[in-house]
Symmetry: C2
Subunit: 112 residues, 2 copies
């Protein structure tokens, strides 16, 4: 069904890139929720941004998808993003890991 399909990022034909961000939060919000919304808005304005998926229980996983390494680099150099990242290191996270990966192949299943 269309509404479920749209919850998964509608990325184009591979190859493209994924930034896999896995994190463990600190206690409390510290402005995190507001920043998270703003970051997704900003990413959506960035050239080469293809989509994002995010979920959190004990750990959080956010996967953003990008056209190429250059668009990832540009995004990382984005001023607001840099501020958020520095603040994140200090207040929001116990630990995080970032992995840059080239998506070589993908396939989808949808219920009728």
């Amino acid at each position: 069904m269309q509404k479920f399909k749209q919850m998964i990022a509608q990325t184009p034909k591979s190859p493209y890139y994924a930034v896999i961000f896995t994190s463990v939060r600190t206690e409390g919000d510290h402005g995190y929720a507001e920043m998270a919304v703003r970051m997704v808005e900003l990413a959506g304005q960035q050239d080469g941004f293809l989509g994002v998926e995010s979920a959190r229980n004990e750990i959080g996983i956010t996967v953003s998808y990008w056209r190429d390494l250059e668009s990832i680099r540009n995004w990382r150099e984005n001023f607001d993003h840099t501020i958020a990242r520095e603040k994140g290191r200090k207040e929001w996270y116990q630990t995080f890991k970032v992995r840059i990966a080239k998506v070589e192949n993908d396939y989808v299943f949808e219920r009728n």
Copy 2:
């Protein structure tokens, strides 16, 4: 702190591979929780398995890490896994997307 660090998959130096599995569940369990535990156990026994991270809210994201494409292929051909996948298509998921990606670079942050 060590206990937080261990919640994130302790993958080796890149390059290695990631299988990004993004899904939207159906209502109800239908044996899903039991299968999910068994799948992680089985993956852990598989040659080339490097670790797994998983989180779910509206969507679920499970990222498993592998030494190379061959170990991913072997895992997919694993009998039990095949059964689980076929059942999943029928009962567990509204939709899912699988992306096979080569991790080219990674970095970590840890609080002191």
